[in-house]
């Protein structure tokens, strides 16, 4: 039977509402308002997990998002399962199931616990040092290491929840709703600023909201009552938006912040249906006020990690806020006054305190006197040297500290306990501030880093700015706010404040012990099991940079990012290396502050919404006719149209044969189309293409090749002269947007004197391409009024026409080497023109073909595809396309680069055709090309860029790039594959109809 450790009047708890939940398979109950950790503690459960490396039993340590130990798996084996969730942040609900991580077979008996006894063999860098050799064994090591590494299990089923992204713009963002955050939000909102207040917890008020002792008063009221009234007031403000359960994850430049709002995690699973789980808020704030508070420091002594050891402030929160005592025999260990606040709470609630161990010798503190009045033994000038108890602390040893704090003296005293609260002072939560680019300074008095230089319009107030006591906060906050918001007055002038805490602290980063360091386990990073000994070892081994020490020892690299222990690690490094803390700096704080789920990050961009995709106006026809699609850029293009049980190869063979023998039809709507107008349009084309354009007659088309300024092929396509000052340029499907951008760039920046205007019309036209010996008959039937005779309408020319009443442009151009026509028509008529062509082509077995067949047909003809046969290292000369480079033009983009020392090398990779010895052997695209397989290392001459079996030529054909290939015509080369070497012969890249008879047929 477990104990019940509830004490009455927990502020957040509704004792009339019982909630049943399961932890490690056992059913417990808690109340509405409990977190998983408070409910477990109420049931006297401290042991919740095992540590990462030594599998030491670990208990709940904190009451907030800084928790390193109590990380659990929720709803194991369900699609909603989530690992690494902090029990201190989980609000319990009916049906909650949680389990411990990193233990097997269970948390009470964990096989991995043997590592604890082997720990002398597992120092910092153990894995790096041990698994280095022999190198060939790494595969075996890796398997075993991966199996034992990692915390928790990721879900294996799709996430059933919905996530959203939301943009928020505000004048002032206030992060944190403690007393200073509330003051800031109220002041900002009342001064006319549109204000957003966020807090990671489900309630407002921070820690002041349960501060109800006579030692902390504002205007003669308990500070909690005073704050409660303020909160009630701000809830009525119209200018203020409040979002709770909202944790700021990242603070970027220009006051751009990401926050996660948690909307359903606190609800029973059955109530979450149809609700958004998390919202990722993308906040752009004119001004940001950080009131993120501070995190209590633990203290570093031998065995400081046992279940039952908590932060003193957490004990106070559990009692005051949740009505839960963490133990029945409590000891507090402190170096400052905070623990006495906890002690007074425990006394008020009638919870037993065995003793208080205080590092400090003599302190003049009202809080301490109050505790002494209650006959509680205070060991002044003492330190804890060791703790005992495996699954729960049951005893501590203490000794007196020497005057300089470096040693322990006198005799050992043992004290029994079941809970030890530690307080090592406070660390400002400056994570977000530094993420934003802020610079910290080190305050020697109390050994804290506080904000110093703000990189944007922002302010830190309250304890995250180093104001730890009530009087400091109430005096400094209004003053800072007035200046920051540029206002004359706040409501917080002349408050009467009673703040009784003494500010003294005796900071000792690593407490002395009566044992040698090597025999102690003084944990600095609880989650990753990094000890003070490990840090000192790293320093002995020569590590100096804190970033290196961090990585070598893994200090601060857990899911908690070392929120508790990083300062101690720095302190120990500073003391050991004799460097000043301020000069040492901190490790980099990186987003997110607390972990985000992948769902939150991707939001609605899942499944079909993962990326935009574009469909042509003829898409539905392709779908209806069972086309397979391929992605080309963002476009979905018909890839091939399998009939019955055809595979891709069979379909492509059939389609390409039909296109050459009778008629084929292709949806070419995806090609980029740019309308170019202006009196300098011809001159502009002269400058952007390698060939000459001035003499192109109106109504004629020309193929153009576009280079980058470095001389490498960038894009290609056919451009048609529509009128004196008007052209329509086509670009590759994937290159359309980039070409448009590049042309705009030159027009706006290099040649602003040119009178040229560019308009992207890719989406405005559908393009139906009909090719093959019967293409003329088909298009003549679709457009009966047009003269298709070769005299009037030769290859590479264009005509305006009408289909019914609708204008269209017909180009006689070809990418297949066949006689072919492209009909361009307003997009919404595209499908009907396509269907007309199909209907007219029936008697000629018109065959729709996809991109795969298009690629085969153009390869037969030796036409390149930019991006497949080229890769930004190919000049037109390398492509054996010297014919398209104008010798006469004075300049065009990339011209000068064509005769740089590198581009005129004879042994550059050049595009050639390749024929296999065995005509049925089809090469693999990407395969290497070599000349000699006997010489080691084998020299690589190039690779295959395109390869197909051509049904028209009845043999395998390939294009490839080969060093010096231009001069290797007829030479034998080898394609070495895994199982055999394939012999090939270098050939002309034009495999079919070199004389262009078919084009002009």
């Amino acid at each position: 039977m477990t104990k019940n450790l509830r004490v009455k009047t927990g502020k957040a708890i509704d004792e009339t509402y019982r909630i049943l939940f399961k932890f490690n398979g056992k059913t417990y109950y808690g109340f509405k308002g409990d977190t998983l950790s408070s409910a477990l503690l109420a049931n006297d459960v401290h042991l919740v997990g095992r540590s990462f490396k030594y599998h030491r039993p670990r208990g709940i340590m904190t009451a907030g998002s800084e928790e390193p130990n109590a990380i659990v798996q929720l709803h194991d084996k369900s699609s909603r399962t989530e690992p690494n969730v902090r029990a201190t942040e989980v609000e319990i609900y009916d049906g909650l199931e949680a389990s411990s991580q990193n233990c097997w077979p269970n948390v009470k008996f964990d096989i991995g616990g043997i590592n604890n006894f082997l720990s002398p063999l597992l120092p910092a860098g153990f894995y790096y040092k041990t698994f280095m050799w022999p190198a060939s064994f790494w595969k075996k090591y890796e398997y075993l290491i991966r199996k034992s590494a990692g915390l928790g299990k990721s879900p294996t089923e799709p996430d059933p929840d919905v996530y959203e992204h939301k943009y928020i713009h505000c004048d002032v963002l206030v992060i944190g709703s403690g007393i200073s955050g509330i003051m800031a939000a109220k002041t900002a909102a009342k001064s006319g600023f549109k204000t957003l207040l966020v807090d990671e917890k489900p309630n407002l008020g921070g820690s002041t909201i349960y501060q109800n002792s006579d030692y902390f008063k504002i205007n003669n009221q308990n500070s909690s009552s005073w704050l409660e009234k303020e909160i009630n007031e701000i809830k009525k403000l119209k200018n203020l938006e409040i979002r709770i359960r909202t944790s700021v994850a990242a603070y970027h430049g220009y006051n751009f912040l990401l926050a996660r709002e948690n909307l359903t995690d606190h609800l029973p699973v059955e109530q979450r249906k149809d609700k958004t789980r998390h919202k990722l808020l993308k906040i752009r704030a004119k001004k940001v006020i950080s009131a993120t508070g501070s995190i209590e420091r633990p203290m570093i002594f031998d065995n400081n990690d046992r279940p039952g050891i908590l932060l003193s402030s957490a004990i106070k929160r559990y009692v005051d806020f949740f009505g839960v005592a963490c133990g029945e025999k409590n000891i507090l260990f402190t170096n400052n006054d905070s623990a006495y606040e906890t002690a007074i709470t425990l006394i008020q609630k009638g919870i037993n305190i065995e003793a208080i161990v205080d590092n400090r010798e003599e302190v003049d503190s009202k809080l301490l006197y109050e505790v002494e009045k209650n006959n509680i033994k205070i060991f002044k000038g003492y330190t804890v040297t060791d703790t005992f108890g495996y699954k729960r602390i049951n005893k501590i040893s203490i000794k007196q500290l020497s005057k300089d704090g470096q040693k322990v003296v006198g005799s050992k005293i043992n004290l029994s306990c079941d809970c030890l609260g530690v307080s090592g002072g406070w660390t400002p939560a400056v994570h977000l501030f530094t993420q934003s680019g802020g610079k910290l300074k080190f305050r020697e008095d109390d050994q804290v880093f506080i904000p110093s230089i703000y990189p944007s319009d922002q302010l830190s107030i309250g304890s995250c700015n180093g104001d730890f006591t009530l009087d400091e906060i109430l005096i400094n906050t209004p003053r800072s706010l007035k200046e920051f918001l540029n206002i004359k007055n706040t409501e917080y002038e002349n408050l009467e404040v009673i703040s009784s805490a003494n500010k003294s602290k005796r900071n000792i980063w690593l407490l002395p012990s009566d044992k040698v360091l090597g025999k102690t386990k003084s944990f600095v990073d609880y989650q990753n099991d990094a000890t003070a000994k490990d840090i000192k070892l790293a320093l002995r081994e020569g590590f100096r940079s804190i970033e290196h020490v961090k990585r070598y020892t893994t200090t601060g690299m857990g899911t908690d990012q070392g929120k508790l222990g990083n300062m101690h690690a720095l302190g120990i490094i500073s003391e050991t290396a004799g460097a000043k803390m301020g000069e040492l700096g901190t490790t980099t704080f990186r987003p997110p502050y607390t972990p985000l789920t992948f769902g939150t990050i991707v939001g609605r961009n899942v499944g079909e919404y993962f990326d935009i995709f574009r469909k042509t106006p003829i898409h539905n026809w392709h779908e209806k006719n069972k086309a397979e699609f391929e992605n080309v850029g963002q476009w979905k293009r018909a890839w091939y149209y399998p009939k019955e049980n055809e595979n891709m190869h069979q379909a492509v063979q059939r389609e390409s044969k039909a296109a050459r023998e009778s008629a084929g039809i292709l949806d070419a709507s995806t090609l980029g189309k740019i309308d170019i107008q202006g009196t300098d349009a011809s001159e502009f084309l002269n400058r952007v293409y390698t060939n000459a354009w001035s003499k192109l007659a109106i109504g004629k088309c020309r193929y153009g090749l576009m280079l980058n300024e470095d001389g490498m092929v960038y894009d290609d396509g056919v451009t048609t002269r529509l009128g004196e000052n008007r052209y329509i340029m086509t670009t590759t499907t994937g290159g359309a947007a980039n070409v448009m951008g590049k042309l705009e760039d030159y027009l706006q920046t290099e040649w602003p004197e040119l009178d040229v205007y560019l308009t992207s019309v890719t989406d405005h036209f559908a393009t139906v391409s009909v090719c093959g010996p019967n293409s003329k008959k088909i298009v003549s039937e679709v457009i009966p009024d047009l003269d298709f005779s070769d005299e009037s309408f030769p290859h590479m020319s264009f005509k305006n026409a009408k289909i019914g009443k609708i204008n269209c442009r017909v180009m006689r151009i070809s990418f297949t080497g066949e006689h072919s026509y492209e009909i361009n028509i307003q997009s919404n008529y595209g499908k009907s023109v396509w269907e007309k062509c199909i209907e007219a082509g029936k008697e000629y077995n018109i065959t729709p073909y996809g991109t795969e067949t298009m690629h085969l047909l153009r390869a037969e003809k030796g036409f390149i595809i930019v991006g497949q046969d080229t890769d930004a290292t190919m000049t037109p000369i390398d492509l054996q396309m010297d014919w398209i480079v104008s010798k006469k033009k004075y300049d065009f983009i990339g011209k000068r680069s064509l005769y740089r020392s590198d581009t005129i090398r004879e042994d550059r990779k050049q595009l050639v055709g390749l024929l296999t010895e065995d005509p049925n052997e089809v090469l693999e695209e990407g395969a290497q090309i070599v000349a000699d397989v006997n010489k080691s290392p084998i020299e690589m001459l190039g690779h295959i860029t395109s390869s197909y079996y051509s049904p028209n030529l009845k043999k395998s054909i390939a294009l490839g790039v080969v060093k010096g290939g231009k001069n290797m015509m007829g030479q034998k080369l080898i394609i070495p594959m895994e199982k055999k070497n394939i012999n090939v012969t270098v050939a002309d890249p034009v495999f079919l109809d070199k004389e262009n008879k078919r084009l002009n047929a």
Binding site: Y254, R284, G437, D710, E744, D745, Q748, R896
Partner: protein
């Protein structure tokens, strides 16, 4: 994520813009008369400054205009934006 003050449209999100490298590199008017080294200077050589840098930006998902920006690369502070062809307002 900057907020960029497009000289034509006003303040817009970073995501609407594309960076275009160093500014004020003029394309030579007579490239064919340059030596390999001179051409390489134009083609390849770019500064990578920690501090004040002059850059080209394009309001790609907006007005499509190119413009210049003065940015401190050490803290991403945008010191000025100005149109193509204009002299930098800061040295």
């Amino acid at each position: 994520m900057f907020v960029i003050n497009c000289p034509f449209c006003g303040e817009r999100e970073h995501s609407e813009f594309k960076a275009g490298g160093e500014a004020h590199i003029v394309r030579p008017k007579q490239p064919t008369e340059l030596s390999d080294d001179e051409w390489a200077e134009y083609l390849f050589m770019r500064k990578n400054i920690k501090g004040i840098q002059f850059e080209r930006w394009n309001h790609a998902h907006g007005c499509r205009k190119w413009f210049n920006m003065v940015r401190d690369t050490s803290n991403d502070e945008i010191k000025a934006v100005y149109k193509m062809g204009e002299k930098p307002p800061i040295k």
